[in-house]
Symmetry: C2
Subunit: 358 residues, 2 copies
DNA sequence: TGGTTTTCCGGTAACGGTTGCGTAAATAAA
DNA sequence: TTTATTTACGCAACCGTTACCGGAAAACCA
């Protein structure tokens, strides 16, 4: 099966008219008689004619659409971000087309190449596997408007929108220390990701400010970024099998999926939270407030992040040339303290801050 | 800013060669001398030349990509389905581009129009607002390969892949009756959706088979399909404010988001599950096994559903003409009984069936 | 009647790429 | 030397659309 659309040429033949006549009739040109216009418009309507946007793209070098490159939207944070982006573009008449990279550098390259000729601008969150962004750089130098969101790439100077990962991690770690934790572990995603690095930096600083000597055994990265449960499982096994005096009593997880999987691990192994291990993690998952024990999270302003990034891209699309200055917008995540990390004040079960979604 | 890619024409001028010579050199034609080939290839590499796929599309009338139309992937079920689809296409060299409709008929029409010239085939799950699918029919009659998944549309005869919504709902309702419920309510999504209708039919049949007279007040649809919490809240309010002898003691929710929101409602209002109300709902949300009480669900084979639908589309893409017979693949969902619906055997807390994700 | 303007429409080029065909020069064969 | 063949390249058409240009016929003016 193959799609065979109606063309202007076809209609011209059927109506015994010139191609340009039909085109102009459809554009309501004053150069065409009312009668001919009516004939053409009626026929086009009957055949459900739609101008071929591919042909228009080729001519006008404009696609009226933008592309979003996402790692995996099997992740509430990502889908929330995209939701924030879409509304802005829709109101401006842009179509939005989304492509997943599945954390694979190869897929990412193909996806970007695919989109590059088909969209007018790109919103990119780099995959965790990506090391080389020469293809993006090249695209950018040839004039493609590109905005990074969430996971940035310092090699390319353009607008970016990110969360304050450093502070989010700092405050979360600080909170664990306040609860009396002295051996706080860190399980991140892929070591290559900017967000993981920033979060680790915040974590380390908080420990240093708290006068804690970090044991390298507390820090774990996940080779594939934590997409699969088994990755987190391995890291958790390593942590929980440390000798008792080295075993962590607090844990900061630095990625949504890892947070959920760490929680799953602890429940499965009957390790009590926060008793044996106090857990707080980056997460925009729904239902974290109703799991038992309820889960403390660092929750990003996902929709807002999407909106801001979309605004940046729109400004690039409208600007005549590459702007001289680039902005990095930073959004503060929300720290939501719940049971899983509340060692003190166990009498006061009320969470510190709860933000209702919807 | 505007993307200005390198063209073959540009390179031909720079190298003092004909356009066709450059083209053939890049295709390693035997008609071009080795020396010229080397010059051209080297120059193309230096400039990072990529053939314009738009131009190729226009010529070859083939896009080597397929489109997925999704309602909202802010929904684990949807993202899982898409994940299942992608892998099949990727291995066949197709790019996948995803567009959201946000349950809006208008956006859906625009999305489909946008994709129609840019992809070779379409995987569609109809939005809950859609009543008229003439544009889809027209497209289909012009030869566009289209496969429906999850939410079908009987007006258009083509391949489809769906869950056995009827049986899923039937078994779930049956389970509630087995637990001693006698007043089982139903909260669905939009009345227009095929899946909601099928699920309601299963629910009604189970009640009939159980000898229960249905009170129409037990049945609620949600105008916008339940995207926002408030919709479910209104329905739940109505249910729970019924006089005590009419108030439901069991509830089947027929859509992922509605299930989560109903659960949220019950927890917020301190209505005990399953004591006051036994809850089971369609849901592919993660973490339902760790909420307290743990949530009984009808869980669809989402990834599988995606794979099967992808296979159907691939077969359409390869077939010469419109096939004479169309297949509807039906996948049985999994009923997972947990605490929220287990009125009996409260001593035996072990869930009946638990399927670990990942 | 002859010239000018207006009306209405068609041909053609261009967007970027591939491909069939034509062709000049170089080489080989006679 | 003449002819045939090969080599190596350019021209032009095509995909669907729009824009510029040009032109026939009708209408207008003198």
């Amino acid at each position: 099966m193959k799609f065979e659309p109606v063309t202007i040429k076809q209609m011209a033949r059927d109506l015994n008219l010139g191609i340009s006549t039909v085109s102009r009739a459809l554009h309501d040109s004053h150069e065409i008689s009312e009668e001919t216009k009516k004939r053409v418009v009626a026929y086009a309507k009957k055949l459900n004619y739609i101008p071929n946007p591919i042909a228009l793209s080729l001519r006008e070098k404009r696609n009226k659409s933008i592309g979003i490159v996402i790692s995996q939207f099997n992740n509430p944070f990502c889908s929330q971000v995209v939701h924030g982006m879409e509304s802005s573009f829709y109101s401006q008449g842009y179509q939005v087309s989304i492509v997943q990279t599945d954390e694979s550098a190869e897929k990412e390259m193909k996806a970007i190449q695919y989109l590059s000729f088909r969209v007018d601008g790109l919103l990119v969150s780099i995959s965790s596997e990506t090391k080389n962004i020469d293809h993006l750089k090249d695209l950018y130098e040839k004039g493609m408007p590109i905005v990074f969101y969430d996971r940035i790439c310092a090699d390319l100077q353009t607008h970016m929108t990110i969360s304050d990962n450093y502070r989010g991690a700092y405050e979360a770690t600080r909170h664990l220390l306040d609860q009396g934790c002295r051996r706080v572990a860190f399980v991140g995603g892929a070591v290559t990701q900017s967000i993981v690095q920033e979060r680790k930096a915040g974590y380390l600083q908080a420990l240093e400010d708290g006068g804690i000597n970090v044991d390298p055994k507390w820090i774990h990265y996940l080779p594939k970024g934590g997409v699969h449960y088994v990755e987190t499982e391995v890291a958790m096994d390593r942590l929980m099998r440390l000798p008792k005096n080295k075993r962590p009593d607090g844990l900061l997880t630095a990625w949504d999926k890892v947070t959920a999987d760490a929680y799953r691990y602890l429940r499965r192994h009957d390790i009590s939270m926060p008793g044996e291990l106090a857990l707080i993690g980056f997460s925009n998952f729904p239902l974290t407030d109703f799991v038992s024990p309820s889960l403390s999270v660092v929750q990003q302003q996902s929709e807002k992040l999407g909106e801001v990034a979309a605004g940046q891209l729109l400004s690039l699309l409208q600007s005549k040339r590459k702007p001289a200055k680039f902005h990095t917008e930073v959004l503060m995540p929300e720290i939501i303290i719940r049971e899983s990390s509340s060692k003190l004040s166990s009498g006061e079960k009320e969470p510190l801050k709860v933000k209702n979604k919807d």
